[in-house]
Symmetry: C2
């Protein structure tokens, strides 16, 4: 049954409703703990997920729980923060109300931080058959399919049929595609080769398809060249200046006319922001993001803000928009919390948000990473170590840091993580599964 | 496509086909590594699962990967052992052939070790609506439902409706039911109470229903009394001399006439052995197990053996059958490997199997456990420590031991494991899920 305001008490405090517990939303809520606001955080999951390491979950290097953190645990000691697990259906801006699948919730201030999702550029056949990597659930889905398919390959005598199960096509040469291709190559050499001695590892092909003429187009030329060299040495087949134009679940069709037989196309070719009903008018046509001013306030709205990947803020340094990376979301969350506490409560205008670019990194494999820092680029062993430490310390919670560190050290020494288990949740009966899978 | 003999080469060695990679089957296969036999191990999963700790996975204390081990990794250095992930459909004893969902496989010797599954005693309504704990997938299913339901409870103002989501009924007072009830009580006090401050923890009821007049009927009176005292002190509501006669998904109906409103009935009231097509005649009617002689050979069959829970061997000490516990399976696996290598290859008769009872234990919670050893019984803190060490050292793999130890130490210090994440695998699209869920 649905009750008013999602069963959250009405107090004298201003209510800030935060949609989404990604980097931006969780960070904002954390900084609003024990302040004069009532904060309601809504997410479809009961955990915050650390997206930069999804690919390691997909490649059986980490368990999902190592890079996820229960949202409620963050707010154990904060009486002013409420969490509700719900799906956002619509925003009624005239009534200052959010409509969810569990009922309505009124707000004084609304902050939208629902991130970005996979962009299939309108190709519904590709969408239906390919995998993407925008949630822990999807990452687990990729992992399970990889190992199911290798088991399946054991029953196939002819190469043509086996190819379906053992070849991979990764679409998109950005950081996600590059990191996935590198990790997949290591999985092939260190794990698959030992687990499946009946299989010739040279049969396993990993294709990385990039529409432009270089990998990591958002990084420096130097980083691109280095990443390409690394991946070639690791046996990844780079397909530049081409795109996957169609995929029917059996063949991936390239624009150049080639086709690749595979059961697994992993789509990392682009993102788009979800369009929330009731907020359509606030989106900018070109970027597909919600246009905000320099204080993250949505243009033409008085009490709605947007931060993170979904926020389209144009500034002097970033005349288009900010890059859709974790650091922007984190910094916007920090900024907006301060803005609310210091300026809004005291009716002061406040300073504009300025993004501090701390650099961009991508790891390709053991001892191999590339980085562009504001003043210089680097690559190799030291870069890889820096990448490891930065990601370790960015994780929420001491337990997660320790578990990830243990896993990385174990894998480093043993070349093997033992996580290649095809474990799927079982529901009590088939008719329940649709309800549980919401 | 299906190929003869599941794509396994025909050699001069005798082929032993092992059905099931539980304690019995995996142990047998391990001891047959690098022997003169060709060994084919078949399981529906690509991992061995450590059943005694399922309840800790269900109660968010451990990750599934911590108590599962990839089967292929066990046989990295054994060229004579083949693994195939497949479902057993039927055995054609006249043709010495096993029929699987992936094709047929001929055998010289067949060893059946397919364990036991949940027994709902023919009540299909209970089976459809309740949870059981016989696989890691089911354990994850329970965990996710618990936390989904608590999130759902946040939207319910009236106790009557909330009760559906926050009350638990555990059926069966054996070790599984007792351990689950204890762990659930700790979850309620240490995690739920902190995560859901809006909820009154006294509202959360945990019922443990046992048809007999005492818990742990397989153990000593002393152990039963102690377990009952522990559980009562932990707030578990014991319902003795009663049974759940029906469950419609909303109310659990007790034989005494009472009913309990709950979304979660966890059924741990009994097990039965799966009946394999083609082997029906070898089952004993009373026990429902496959009758074997003192060397684990199936009576009336010349080249078929059965070990573990499914084997019904009557002996002087155990005139009925052996208890269906891990130790029997492990010892039978050890015994049969020796019997095959030492006696069968040399055509010697061999000694009969004798089960060495090392004792029975059950843990109820922090510092609380009971144990019956062959010569004495004990309970309390020391028993709990012994339980921890025995289970730790029984796990396969150094990594799993370290991870479980880390988790237990972390939980011991922090009263919190951070594993309450409702993570469900996502398939690429709905029409694929049935295929993937096989």
């Amino acid at each position: 049954m649905n009750y008013p305001d999602l069963n959250i008490p009405k107090t004298k405090s201003k209510r800030i409703v935060i949609l989404g517990a990604g980097f931006a939303g969780l960070n904002l809520a954390k900084h609003l703990r024990n302040t004069a606001f009532q904060v309601v955080l809504i997410d479809r999951n009961n955990y915050h997920q650390f997206q930069p390491l999804f690919y390691q979950v997909a490649m059986a290097g980490l368990e999902p729980s190592a890079i996820a953190f229960p949202i409620r645990k963050v707010f154990h000691k904060s009486k002013n923060v409420y969490f509700r697990k719900a799906e956002i259906l619509r925003v009624l801006t005239n009534e200052n109300t959010v409509v969810t699948n569990n009922g309505d919730l009124s707000y004084d201030i609304l902050v939208v931080c629902l991130g970005a999702e996979t962009n299939f550029f309108g190709n519904s056949r590709i969408e239906a058959h390919s995998f993407s990597l925008k949630s822990l659930g999807q990452s687990l889905g990729i992992r399970n399919q990889i190992f199911l398919d290798f088991e399946e390959a054991m029953f196939e005598i002819e190469y043509h049929n086996r190819q379906q199960f053992i070849d991979f096509v990764i679409v998109g040469g950005g950081p996600t595609g590059v990191e996935m291709a590198g990790a997949l190559s290591e999985l092939k050499r260190y794990v698959i080769a030992k687990d499946f001695p009946e299989l010739d590892p040279y049969e396993i092909d990993i294709y990385l398809v990039q529409s432009g003429n270089r990998l990591l187009p958002g990084m420096s030329e130097k980083a691109s060249r280095k990443a390409e060299k690394y991946l070639k040495n690791m046996g990844v087949q780079l397909v530049l200046n081409d795109r996957v134009s169609d995929y029917d679940g059996v063949y991936a069709y390239l624009k150049s006319g080639n086709k690749i037989r595979t059961n697994k196309v992993i789509w990392a070719a682009g993102v788009k922001c979800p369009v929330i009903k009731g907020l359509e008018n606030f989106y900018e046509e070109g970027t597909g993001r919600i246009t905000v001013d320099s204080s993250c306030k949505v243009i033409h709205a008085s009490n709605i803000y947007a931060i993170g990947d979904i926020a389209g803020m144009s500034s002097l340094v970033y005349p288009g928009c900010h890059p859709q990376v974790a650091q922007v979301g984190i910094q916007m969350g920090d900024y907006l919390a301060k803005h609310f506490v210091k300026n809004m409560l005291n009716n002061r205008p406040g300073k504009p948000f300025i993004y501090k670019n701390k650099g961009v990194m991508a790891t390709i494999g053991r001892h191999k990473a590339v980085a562009d820092f504001p003043k210089f680029s680097m690559g190799g062993w030291l870069t890889w170590m820096i990448w490891l430490w930065i990601h370790l310390f960015s994780l929420i919670g001491v337990r997660n840091k320790l578990i990830v560190m243990f896993n990385w050290m174990w894998n480093y020494v043993h070349f093997d993580s033992s996580l290649r288990l095809i474990i799927q949740q079982e529901s009590r009966n088939p008719t329940q599964s649709s309800k549980e899978g919401n």
